[in-house]
Symmetry: C2
Subunit: 336 residues, 2 copies
């Protein structure tokens, strides 16, 4: 009775028991408790919709677990659109034999993180699949997010980005990636994942009326990949100062040993914002004063596309210039 069985996913009495004893217990709210196939919720004239599946291994890692991660990733995606995240749906796929205690700690983390981010989990689904590998049973979670655009909302978009804009990063690069990799390799160190919802930080920027032109959370593919997407969508060149890039000493050393570049390592609680130069200092202060923003930094500026080709350039500490492409190939699999 302390492990997940195939019957728990078959839609009958066992599934109901699992829902009652775990999902409803932790995630319950007035919406979820409708317990209908679809949940009726207040809406808005314009919505932001997103989805993300989480297949991270291991499912518990330093600083978080897949339950917390699955809220952060989706909430942050909604935030980056400029909408207010309101609702999440959660589809859990469990491997047969999963310890209920592990499931419980992930459900609890989902509930706590949703509360922190100010969103309700309004619909859920549970499936159980065979553990065909014979290894430790896993969890996969899909969260879809629904946000509502405020009427007084000022949109961000590639069109707003212009030469002279400042590039701000909300904190250290590579923490989530390094924490996961360290755990997989069995290495003991102090690195913890940065998985976090950026709701409070984005709210603070909006409240202050900062001239925010574009923003994106830094996840798979790392900062270099995000900025390459910006270069393509804006037609501009993004020049980074190597010296200004915030990386913790522990991650820098860990990455150095493994030959990894923090510019391509994934985070799960960091954002990059493109801000009008006139608001650069103020926006940086707001980031630094926000939860999860204490290591925020101004890391570069937007310039005209060099030689007509938009891109991302790193101004190195020794005065050189290196072109940064997007991530090619694998990156670290199953990071989220």
């Amino acid at each position: 009775m302390d492990r997940v069985t195939m019957a728990d996913g078959a839609g009958g009495v066992s599934t109901q028991r699992l829902i009652d004893s775990l999902f409803a217990k932790y995630l319950g709210n007035d919406y979820l408790s409708q317990m209908e196939d679809a949940t009726r919720v207040p809406g808005g004239a314009e919505l932001a919709l997103t989805t993300d599946s989480f297949v991270v291994t291991p499912i518990e890692f330093p600083g978080g677990n897949i339950g917390r991660l699955s809220v952060c990733g989706t909430v942050n995606d909604v935030l980056m659109s400029g909408a207010k995240p309101r609702y999440l749906t959660a589809g859990w796929i469990l491997e047969e034999g999963l310890a209920l205690s592990v499931l419980e700690s992930c459900v609890r983390a989902m509930a706590e993180t949703a509360k922190e981010a100010g969103v309700f989990v309004v619909a859920g689904d549970t499936k159980v699949i065979e553990n065909r590998s014979g290894k430790e049973p896993g969890i996969m979670i899909n969260t879809a997010g629904c946000g509502v655009f405020d009427e007084k909302h000022r949109p961000v978009s590639a069109d707003l980005v212009k030469e002279g804009d400042v590039i701000l990063l909300s904190g250290n690069l590579g923490d989530h990636h390094a924490a996961l990799l360290g755990k997989r390799m069995g290495i003991e160190n102090d690195i913890v994942s940065d998985n976090a919802p950026l709701s409070q930080m984005v709210e603070a920027l909006e409240q202050a009326g900062v001239a925010l032109h574009e923003m994106r959370d830094v996840t798979r593919g790392g900062l270099a990949t995000v900025l390459n997407e910006f270069a393509e969508s804006t037609g501009k060149t993004f020049v980074l100062s190597e010296e200004a890039l915030p990386v913790s000493p522990a991650v820098r050393s860990f990455a150095g040993i493994l030959g990894l570049d923090p510019l391509y390592m994934g985070n799960e609680g960091k954002m990059v914002c493109i801000v009008d130069a006139k608001d650069g200092d103020r926006a940086l202060q707001i980031l630094q004063g926000s939860r999860y923003g204490e290591n925020a930094a101004a890391i570069g500026t937007v310039t005209k596309a060099e030689g007509g080709r938009p891109g991302v350039v790193l101004a190195t500490k020794v005065g050189g210039r290196r072109i940064l492409g997007p991530l090619y190939g694998e990156g670290l699999p199953r990071i989220c």
Copy 2:
């Protein structure tokens, strides 16, 4: 190049190539082409939100595949709430080594079914996981659905159900379940899955102004499980006429051989509606005239809870009465 690799799920250039060559190609629409982390769409004052993960094996089965199924299941859940399905999000989890041709046929089926159901796939996500089993690589899909409630919408709810109401079923029981099981067992027969979106049927009932009190799609757990949920939420007894239950000869015979009861077998394109007796005949005609409704039947009536205990009772062909509980235990795993 004709199989899915781990790199296709890592969020870099390979992922982008897969998105462009497959997902955007088939599923593309003005919303999806925003290609942002969250998609901006027109909303409504009240929404219906739902989620469902699909882990069916095999991923291709007689009459459909996981791509079609993942649209039907979620669209039908939204429909049953009384809302108009508008948007889907799609999270694809692919096993490494999956043939791109299989993926393509599932993406195409998702696109065709979404079109049939009148919904847009507005956001997507792709992850790749190791094929740890060494068996044929699989696909899992989560779809979340967002519907909008019409202002002139008349809600269905357990509170509306009253003694004398007619129980209508939109077609034959057990087709999806039997088709899957037959395919798994390698049996050649004519049974095909009924996976279908019920949009047109529900629309027709609404247009006609039928006094619809409650409705639900018949999926995992079968009709008996759905009606037990109704019994609990309404406090009434649901009396079914065994003679009236529509089951195709092929499914009846297949189920008989295996000792399965069609009342507990899953469908993926059938609904049960509870209708005011005065509208019973008219509603039945509408169902029978709708797409996928040709075998619709009136299968029973709602009565006072017998002896004060709500439940589901089968009036058998030989004049007996059998109490039908909900599905206990396993059912058929990975049916959806």
